[in-house]
Amino acid sequence: MTRLHLAAALDARHFTAGPWADLVRAADEARLDFVTIDDSFGPPPGGARPDAVLVAARVAPLTRHIGLVPVATTTHTEPFHLSTALATLDYVSRGRAGWQPRVSGDESEASLLGRREPLGVEELFAEAADAVEVVRRLWDSWQDDAIIRDTATGRFIDRDRLHYIDFAGPYFSVKGPSIVPRPPQGQPVIAALAHVPVAFAFAGRAADLVFITPSDAWSAEKIMRKLDPRLKVYADIVVHLGDRRGAAPSDAAVFSGTAVQLADLIEAWAKSGIDGVRLRPGELPHDLLAITRDLLPELRRRNLFEPSQIGQLRERLGLPRAANRYEEAANA
């Protein structure tokens, strides 16, 4: 039986830091591999969320192990700012940063920016793919050895180890290089939610890791056959543990029951070849705490999960070392 990686999806409306610190610390102490922090460009119905990148940065110094994967939108936003913010999250978390890109097709979100009409779905994902390309190029635009501090010549950097990215596309062009040196992971982990064909294609082009929404182990296998084999695959499960009810319908499978029953379900799904599961607590903090308190010991007992000792998120998730495209080109 292969071991799984475990993630939790945090979708909370708190604005003060305390509740966020409690949630992420609980996940950190339980040694989950990472949390995603939900966000959208505009406020969703039922209450706004705080900016997820800033929430991730706020809790980074309070935690030691957990990967921090905020959602940030590619529509309307500046790829340059996204790239530098996420690189900085990687610095403040010492190599634990990730990013879940999201698109915004909503007309009311477009008027918050007031610059253009909403794009169609194909274009939204095309723009998102361009944004990810720019973000990734900017991360690589400094070679790891660019800072030389050479007092003999008075040079702080070797400018030949910095690179213009010269990206030009239909939605934006970005010159580079980044203002932020290459982040500790080189390339922080990019994750994409994929439950429609256009998102599968986007994930294959842009992501390291994909969240899928199967209804059972058989459908997980079926989805995996459609995915780029290089992607790490995480199955989403909405989790209601204990006797709490009120499980609302979701795009993902909704589980309601005991921790042992949930472990049974995860064990069955694990046979489909997925790399991990992302648990979406139905109610916070209750279901997250039940996951850490009841589910994790059960999964460890079954040898389905073991806390990782690896510090950086990419490496922990079994992703290959991120080679620098410009360094490779320079050495070729």
Partner: protein, 425 residues
């Protein structure tokens, strides 16, 4: 009670004030450096920590500038992380009104204000020109006059959003046509503190209308008093209480065991700040010509500066010399009178430290500036990362506290409270 001094800590920047060649110089990018400076400032009961913003690496002669510290983190992300390791310290970030958008930035600043329990501040800057624009969707389309129009409308829009308490807004102005629901509930400060950086006429007007504080250049005390009176008068003209607009210049300092010791240290630091290569580059910024063939230990070039402001040799920095010919003839006269090499001259005419002396003398001078209405406080710019503020906090702060001109404990929880600014929003 004597007037209280405002103190802020500027993280060392990407210019030659920051000395990286010193063995004590640490990383400009690792979080430990930011945490050290912020914790030091909080230990010293400072009002706030201050961070600049980078939008593109500087270039000179068409090449990425490599002689100063290069590379820095994203402003808001570092401030959010610092909120996790400090409790009282204000967290001020420079964010450009040209390359951000009101909804997104107002939301991020309100988020930071929530996540820090009311400690967020925004230092508004503007840039014209296509150089930075090449990294952004917007490109570079603003002409010089429109910078302040956009900045003013941007601040007004942000304040409107903060005033919604999360509700609906509908804004039509020359720069913005935006509407919808803001979402973010009222943050602890209502409006994060707004600083405006810059001494120009347009900058002063913008500050007098919109800002809580103006981040100015340091001036000699008479000029500083005149600047102070001018800015406060502009606030009054705009119907504001002059106390609601603080004047906080950025300053550097050098401490020594005696005044002579401090002067000697100051000179040593100036030589570190102006390497031979840096001397030539700084001279090029006035001359606007490639001077790479000149010897920094030799005399000034015989040719005059090139007067073409549309094609300057340096990109990514604000224009520093309004009258190149006049300044160059002043420099030439000084070099000839004292027989100075290029490097010696540059050391003398650029960026000498503002306060040099024993802790006692520096404390006296800082206090004199504030008590005689030359400013309301200071943004201290250390020359070393990350420990450059340690000596000030250990040796000068206690003297200011003894004089009764600086707090010994935090008395409020928000930055607006520390600064004694009125409620907003």
């Amino acid at each position: 009670m004597p007037k209280q001094i405002i103190l802020a800590a500027h993280f060392p920047g990407v210019n030659n004030t920051t000395v990286w060649s010193d063995p004590r110089s640490g990383s400009q990018i690792e979080f430990d450096s930011f945490e050290h400076l912020a914790r030091t400032a909080e230990r010293g009961r400072f009002d706030f920590f201050f961070l600049a913003e980078g939008l593109r690496l500087r270039e000179q002669r068409g090449l990425i500038h490599d002689l100063d510290v290069v590379g820095r983190p994203d402003t808001l992300t570092v401030l959010a992380a610092l909120a996790g390791v400090t409790e009282h310290l204000g967290l001020a970030g420079t964010l450009n009104a040209t390359y951000h958008e009101p909804y997104e930035l107002a939301r991020q600043l309100a988020t930071l204000d929530h996540l820090s329990g009311g400690r967020a501040a925004w230092n508004v800057v503007t840039s014209p020109g296509a150089f930075f624009g090449e990294n952004f969707r917007r490109g570079g389309f603003l002409d010089h006059a429109d910078r302040y129009v956009r900045a003013g409308e941007f601040i007004e829009a942000a304040r409107r959003l903060w005033d919604t308490g999360g509700g609906e807004f509908d804004i039509e102005s020359s720069q913005f046509s935006i509407r919808g629901r803001f979402g973010v509930p009222r943050s602890p400060q209502g409006h994060p503190v707004v600083l405006q950086a810059g001494d120009s006429d347009g900058g002063r007007d913008l500050a007098a209308r919109h800002a809580d504080a103006i981040f100015s250049r340091h001036h000699r005390i008479d000029d500083a008093r005149q600047f102070y009176r001018d800015v406060k008068q502009r606030a009054v003209t705009n119907g504001r209480d002059p106390d609601s607009l603080k004047v906080i210049p950025g300053v550097s300092y050098v401490l020594g065991d005696s005044d002579a010791d401090a002067q000697e240290k100051a000179h040593h630091i100036r030589r570190q700040q102006v390497s031979p290569q840096t001397a030539i580059l700084l001279l090029e910024q006035l001359w606007n010509r490639d001077l790479s063939e000149y010897d920094a230990d030799g005399p000034l070039p015989a040719v005059d500066p090139k007067l073409d402001e549309d094609d300057t040799i340096i990109k990514g920095r604000a224009g520093m010399y309004p009258d190149r010919l006049r300044t160059s003839s002043e420099w030439r006269a000084k070099a000839e009178a004292k027989n100075l090499s290029i490097r010696d001259l540059i050391i003398e005419v650029t960026g000498r430290q503002n306060f040099i002396g024993t802790p006692q003398r520096v404390a006296e001078q800082l206090s004199e500036y504030v008590q005689t209405e030359a400013c309301d406080g200071f943004i201290l710019v250390p020359h070393l990362t990350p420990a450059g503020l340690d000596d000030f906090v250990d040796r000068v702060v206690p003297l200011l506290q003894e004089r009764g001109v600086f707090r010994t404990e935090y008395e409020t929880t928000t930055l607006r409270g520390h600064l004694g600014l009125p409620e907003r929003g």
